[in-house]
C-alpha cells in the first residue's frame, strides 16, 4: 500500500512539474504569433487537450476489448474512467476552440472539419456516459464495453469523413500541417503542453478507476 501511495505521489509530482514548466513556457517565454497575436496561446491547451482526448478514446477501446475477453472489474473501471476523463478533455477542446474562434475570427462555431469532428466525438462520449448512468446495472458493463468499441472504431471514420465535407472556407488554422510552426520554441512548447495534459489525463484515469474499484469493494464490505 505504501508503495502505491509513493507511485501516486511520484506520478502526480512529475505531472505537476511538467504542467508548471509548460505553463511557464506558454505565458513567459513563447513570443506572440505574428498573425493571431496573444490569443494564439490558447492553442497549447487546445491541442494538448485534443491529444489527451484521443488517448482516452484509445484506452476506452483497449479496456473494453479486455473486459469482453476477461470479464474483470478492473478493465470495466478503467473503461468508465477513461470515458469520463476523455469527455472532460473533449469539452475543453470544444470550449477553448470556440473561445479562440470568437476572439480570432468573430465566430463561436463554424462548420469546419476539426470543430465538427470534435463535436461528434464529444457526443459519442456523452452517449457512453448516458448508458453508464441509465443502463440496466447487471448488464451495463458489457453494454458499455460494446458501445466503447463501436465508438472508438467510429473515431477515425468520423475524422476522415468530416474532413471531406464540402466547405465554404477553411477557418481552422492549419498550423502544424502547413509549416506554420517554424519557430522551434513554438514546437517545443507544443510538445511540453501535449505531454503535460496527456500525463494529467493518465493520472486522472488511474485515480478515477481506483475510486470505482474502492467504491465497489466498500459496498461489498457493507453487505
Amino acid at each position: 500500500m505504501k508503495n502505491l501511495l509513493r507511485i501516486d505521489i511520484l506520478a502526480i509530482s512529475l505531472t505537476g512539474i511538467i504542467i508548471a514548466y509548460a505553463n511557464y513556457l506558454v505565458f513567459m517565454v513563447v513570443p506572440n504569433e505574428r498573425i493571431m497575436g496573444a490569443v494564439q496561446r490558447i492553442f497549447y491547451f487546445h491541442v494538448g487537450s485534443a491529444i489527451a482526448c484521443y488517448v482516452a478514446f484509445g484506452i476506452v477501446f483497449v479496456s473494453s476489448l479486455a473486459y469482453l475477453a476477461r470479464r474483470d472489474r478492473v478493465s470495466d473501471a478503467i473503461s468508465e474512467a477513461a470515458a469520463e476523463v476523455g469527455f472532460v478533455f473533449a469539452s475543453i477542446v470544444l470550449l477553448s476552440g470556440m473561445i479562440w474562434g470568437k476572439v480570432a475570427w468573430n465566430t463561436w462555431f463554424n462548420w469546419e472539419p476539426r470543430l465538427v469532428s470534435f463535436l461528434l466525438l464529444w457526443m459519442i462520449f456523452l452517449g457512453y456516459i448516458f448508458l453508464r448512468a441509465f443502463g440496466e446495472p447487471s448488464r451495463v458493463a458489457t453494454q458499455c464495453a460494446i458501445i466503447g468499441i463501436i465508438g472508438a472504431l467510429m473515431v477515425p471514420v468520423v475524422i476522415f469523413s468530416v474532413k471531406l465535407l464540402p466547405q465554404v472556407f477553411q477557418l481552422h488554422p492549419q498550423v502544424v500541417e502547413k509549416q506554420g510552426l517554424r519557430e522551434p520554441l513554438f514546437v517545443s512548447t507544443m510538445f511540453y503542453s501535449m505531454g503535460a495534459l496527456t500525463l494529467l489525463n493518465l493520472v486522472l484515469i488511474w485515480l478515477r478507476a481506483r475510486i470505482t474499484l474502492t467504491d465497489e469493494k466498500l459496498n461489498e464490505e457493507t453487505w
Binding site: 461528434l120 459519442i124 448508458l131 441509465f134 440496466e136 460494446i146 467510429m154 468520423v158 464540402p166
Partner: protein, 227 residues
C-alpha cells in the same frame, strides 16, 4: 443453420407485419412530421431549386428521427416472458437472432422511409423521378446500415431503466458517419451537373458502413445477449 435463420426471419417479419405496431407508428409519424417540416420550409418562400437542395436534409432528418423513435420497440415482445432467452437456449446462434431482427427492422423502416420520401416530395413539390433509382439504392444502403447498428443499440435500451429514451443518446452519436454519408450522397445525386456513381466517396462510405456495422453487430450481439 440456414433453416434456423429462415425460421427466425419469418418469425420476425410475421410479428412485425401482423401486429403492425412499428410500421403504423412510422407511417403516422412520417405524415405528421413531414407536414411540420414542409410548413417550416415553405414559410421561407424558397425557389424551386433551393427547395430541391433542402430535400435531402429534410428527408434524412425525418428518417433518423422517426427510425430512432420506432426501432426502440423491436425487442419488446422478445423480452416479455423471457422469449429471447428461450430462443437462445434452443442453441440458435445469437448472431442469427441479430441478423434476422436487423433484416426485419430494415424491411419495416425501409417501407416507412419510402412512404416519407414520397410524402415529403409531394408536400415540397419536388420531382424525384430523374433520381428515383439511385435514391432508392442510397436509401436501401442507409436503411440497412441504420438497422444493423440500431438493432444492437435498441437491445441495450430495451433492458435499461430509461427504455426507449436512452436510445437516441447511445445510437445517434455512433451513426454520424452514416448521417453524413446519406446526406452527402443524396446531395451529390440531387445537385445535378455532377456524374453520380457509387464509386464516389460518400456512396462508397455507405457501403463500407454497412459492412462495418454488420460485422460489429454479428460479433458483439452475442456478448450482450449472454448476460
Amino acid at each position: 443453420m440456414m433453416n434456423s435463420f429462415v425460421t427466425l426471419l419469418r418469425k420476425d417479419l410475421t410479428l412485425e407485419f401482423r401486429i403492425k405496431e412499428m410500421i403504423a407508428v412510422y407511417l403516422a409519424m412520417s405524415l405528421i412530421f413531414s407536414v411540420v417540416l414542409a410548413f417550416g420550409i415553405s414559410s421561407a418562400f424558397l425557389y424551386q431549386e433551393e427547395t430541391l437542395r433542402l430535400y435531402p436534409a429534410a428527408l434524412w432528418t425525418l428518417f433518423f428521427f422517426i427510425a430512432t423513435a420506432t426501432i426502440g420497440r423491436s425487442f419488446e415482445y422478445e423480452l416479455e416472458n423471457n422469449v429471447l432467452s428461450a430462443v437462445v437456449l434452443t442453441g440458435v446462434s445469437p448472431s442469427l437472432i441479430y441478423l434476422s431482427k436487423s433484416l426485419s427492422n430494415s424491411a419495416v423502416i425501409g417501407a416507412g422511409h419510402f412512404f416519407s420520401a414520397v410524402i415529403l416530395a409531394i408536400l415540397l413539390n419536388v420531382d424525384l423521378r430523374p433520381f428515383a433509382l439511385n435514391l432508392a439504392l442510397i436509401s436501401i444502403l442507409s436503411v440497412t446500415a441504420y438497422a444493423f447498428l440500431g438493432t444492437l443499440c435498441a437491445f441495450f435500451s430495451s433492458v435499461s431503466k430509461l427504455k426507449h429514451l436512452l436510445l437516441p443518446f447511445i445510437l445517434l452519436p455512433l451513426l454520424f458517419p452514416l448521417i453524413l454519408a446519406s446526406l452527402e450522397s443524396t446531395q451529390l445525386l440531387i445537385s445535378g451537373g455532377i456524374e453520380f456513381s457509387f464509386g464516389a466517396f460518400w456512396p462508397s462510405l455507405l457501403i463500407f458502413l454497412n459492412v462495418v456495422y454488420l460485422i460489429l453487430g454479428l460479433t458483439l450481439f452475442k456478448f450482450a445477449v449472454r448476460e
